[in-house]
């Protein structure tokens, strides 16, 4: 089964958890957002402690079933706290 390589960008506490702004992730071709999330949570168990953790692609929130494609940039959105 072919793999795709994607970039993950982190903000706020998610950046602290991965220890940097970005990381690369290998996923099976056809993976959904929830599978990427599962992989990230297994690599960084601290994500499990957050109140919420959302994903955005192309500056839009995506839901669990969104299919990730080669070249996508996944952005990790921990609980927002603007204002």
């Amino acid at each position: 089964m072919s793999e795709i390589q994607i970039k993950v960008v982190a903000f706020g506490i998610a950046r602290d958890i991965i220890g940097g702004r970005e990381l690369n992730l290998k996923l099976k071709s056809g993976s959904k957002a929830q599978e990427a999330m599962h992989l990230l949570k297994s690599q960084y168990p601290a994500f499990e402690q957050l109140s919420t953790l959302n994903l955005a692609i192309n500056e839009e929130y995506v839901d669990d079933n969104h299919v990730i494609i080669e070249g996508d940039e996944l952005v990790l959105i921990p609980p927002v706290s603007g204002g």
């Binding site: 903000f11 839009e60 921990p78 706290s81 603007g82 204002g83």
Partner: protein, 136 residues
Amino acid sequence: MIEITEHKIDVPTLIAAVSHDGAGATDVFIGTTRNKTSEKAVVKLDFEAYEPMAVKELQKIVDRAKEQWPILKYAISHRVGVVEIGEEAVVIAVSTPHRQAAFESCQFIIDELKKTVPIWKKEIFEDGDVWVASHP
């Protein structure tokens, strides 16, 4: 007008931006850095934003507000970087023909901003810091 800025927010500029001859009411919300949270002394705040998405999400909120209230003009500015005690972290100005719509739409925008806009606030204390609302 929607902006994410590293500079101090100039409130009069935002108020001027929502001036409109048909406006009978302008409501301006100013969120400032408090000197404490839950009795713990806050030294300053440090905001981070995923800027292009933050602007897009703010625009979506404004679009939803416009469906509900007759907004004539709006101006939203949110700081990023270090914000000292007493400084403005966010300013929202809305002008409408009548006052009820100004209050309701301005409050709607700040309430929704806090739910969906990718901006993160770190509270910095004398002895450490914390990303606000990260954990249950």
